[in-house]
C-alpha cells in the first residue's frame, strides 16, 4: 500500500491545497476512497491525489455538484445537532418529574446527573 496526499479546492479559483493523506494500492483506488474520506461533508469543489514522492497529480472525476452527495445528508454536518443537548436536558427533566430514573452508569470521571448544573 502506498501513501497518497489528498488535495482539494474550496472554490474553483483556488489553487490545490493539501488536505490530508490516505493509503491505497494505486491512484484509482485512492481517488475512490478520498472522495468519501475527505469530501463527504462538501469540503470542496474539486479534489485530487498524488502518490507521495511523485509529481503526477490525479484529479478526481466528480464535480462540485456531486461531492458530498446530492440527497439529504444534513445529519453529517454539525448544524444537524443544534439543540440536541437542550432536548436531552428537557427529556431528562421530564423523566425525573415522572419519578423515573435512567441509572445506566456514566463513564469514569463524568459528573453524575445529580451534580450536573441545570440549564
Amino acid at each position: 500500500m502506498a501513501v497518497f496526499d489528498v488535495f482539494g479546492k474550496r472554490t474553483a479559483d483556488d489553487d490545490w491545497t493539501l488536505v490530508g493523506g490516505i493509503t491505497a494500492p494505486d491512484p484509482e483506488m485512492a481517488l475512490v476512497l478520498a472522495k468519501e474520506t475527505h469530501f463527504r461533508h462538501k469540503e470542496g469543489v474539486a479534489y485530487a491525489v498524488r502518490r507521495r514522492g511523485e509529481e503526477e497529480l490525479h484529479v478526481g472525476p466528480y464535480d462540485a455538484g456531486v461531492l458530498g452527495g446530492v440527497t439529504d445528508h444534513s445529519y453529517r454536518r454539525q448544524e444537524a445537532y443544534t439543540g440536541v443537548g437542550g432536548r436531552q436536558k428537557r427529556v431528562s427533566r421530564q423523566i425525573q418529574e415522572r419519578g423515573l430514573r435512567i441509572d445506566r452508569p456514566r463513564p469514569p470521571g463524568h459528573p453524575s446527573r445529580d451534580t450536573e448544573p441545570d440549564g
Binding site: I22, T23, A24, P25, E28, M29, V32, L33, A34, K35, E36, T37, R40, P61, Y62, G65, V66, G69, V70, T71, D72, H73, R76
Partner: protein, 290 residues
C-alpha cells in the same frame, strides 16, 4: 396493497435500496480499513436516502397514505418487495464486494431505463439517484478489479462471492406484478427481461475479461430454487429452473430465477432477523419522532 402497479414498482426499487443500505451499514466499524469504512458507510447512507426519496414519492402520488418512516419501518415482512439478494447477510468482504458489484451494475441498468419513464416525477427522482449511483458503480468496479487481479486468496473470495450471489442477482430483474400495465403506460419503459439481458450481457463480458465467467457457467448448470420464508405463492405463477446461457458470444437469461419471490413479498429465512433489528426501535415506539 394499492391496486396501482406503480406502487409495486416504487417499493421494489426503494426496498432494494433500503435493505441493501442496511446490510452495507453493518460494515460500519468493521470494513477492511478505515478509508473503506467511510466509503462503504457513505454508500449505505446514499442507498437509504434513495429509498426515502422513493417512499416520499409513493405518498405524494397518492399510492399510499403511509409516510416515509411507516413505509421503511412499519410494514410486515411480506409487504417488502426487495430482491432476496439485498437481504442476504454480508458474509466476508469478498461476498459483499461481489454483491455490491452485481447489485449496483444491475441497479444502474434499471435506473437508466426509469430515467425515461412517462411518470415524470419518478424520472426526476431517478435522475437525482443516478448522480450518486455513479459513484457506487465506480466503487464496486474498482474493488472488483483489485480483487480479481489477486493475490490468490482475494481472487478466490471474490469468485466464491460471485458464485453465491450471481443467481439471486439475476432475480433483481424478476418481473414485477402487473408489469405489462406498467410497460403499456410507459411507466416502465422496457421489460424486466429486456433489462436483465442488457445487464447480463455486460456483466458477462466483464466476468470473461477477468476470467471469472465460470461463475455464470456454474449457475447455468446448477441453478437452485431458494426456500422462502414469507408470502403466499399464487396459483397462476409458473416456476421453471433458473439459468443463464451463452449464445452467439453473449450471456442471456433462460428459464426462471434463483431466489425469486422478493418482488411478491416472499423472502429468504435471512430476512426476518434483519427486519426485526432494522425495525425494532420503530416497532417499540410507533410514531416516535427524532
Amino acid at each position: 396493497m394499492n391496486g396501482d402497479p406503480r406502487l409495486a414498482l416504487v417499493l421494489s426499487v426503494a426496498d432494494d435500496e433500503l435493505v441493501i443500505g442496511h446490510r452495507h451499514s453493518e460494515w460500519t466499524g468493521w470494513a477492511p480499513h478505515i478509508e473503506e469504512d467511510l466509503a462503504f458507510s457513505s454508500i449505505a447512507q446514499d442507498e437509504m436516502a434513495h429509498a426515502r426519496l422513493l417512499y416520499g414519492l409513493a405518498r405524494a402520488a397518492g399510492l399510499t397514505d403511509r409516510d416515509e418512516d411507516a413505509l421503511a419501518l412499519g410494514r410486515e415482512p411480506a409487504e417488502y418487495h426487495n430482491a432476496v439478494l439485498c437481504e442476504r447477510p454480508n458474509g466476508d468482504w469478498g461476498y459483499s464486494v461481489a454483491r455490491q458489484y452485481l447489485y449496483d451494475t444491475a441497479d444502474s441498468v434499471r435506473l437508466e431505463a426509469l430515467a425515461s419513464s412517462s411518470w415524470r416525477e419518478l424520472a426526476d427522482v431517478v435522475n437525482v439517484m443516478r448522480l450518486e449511483e455513479t459513484y457506487h458503480v465506480d466503487h464496486a468496479r474498482t474493488w472488483f478489479s483489485r480483487l480479481a487481479g489477486g493475490p490468490v486468496t482475494g481472487r478466490q473470495r471474490l469468485a466464491d462471492g460471485l458464485s453465491k450471489a450471481i443467481g439471486e442477482a439475476v432475480a433483481v430483474f424478476e418481473p414485477l406484478p402487473d408489469e405489462s400495465k406498467l410497460i403499456s403506460d410507459g411507466v416502465l419503459p422496457r421489460s424486466s427481461e429486456d433489462l436483465l439481458n442488457e445487464w447480463l450481457g455486460a456483466v458477462g463480458k466483464e466476468l470473461e475479461a477477468a476470467s471469472l465467467d465460470f461463475v455464470l457457467e456454474r449457475h447455468g448448470s446448477v441453478g437452485e430454487m431458494v426456500p422462502t420464508g414469507s408470502g403466499e405463492v399464487r396459483g397462476e405463477e409458473v416456476f421453471s429452473p433458473p439459468g443463464v446461457n451463452r449464445r452467439d458470444g453473449v450471456w442471456i437469461h433462460e428459464g426462471g430465477f434463483a431466489g425469486a419471490g422478493g418482488r411478491r413479498g416472499r423472502h429468504s429465512d435471512d430476512f426476518v432477523p434483519m427486519w426485526e433489528e432494522m425495525t425494532m426501535l420503530y416497532r417499540t415506539h410507533p410514531g416516535a419522532r427524532w
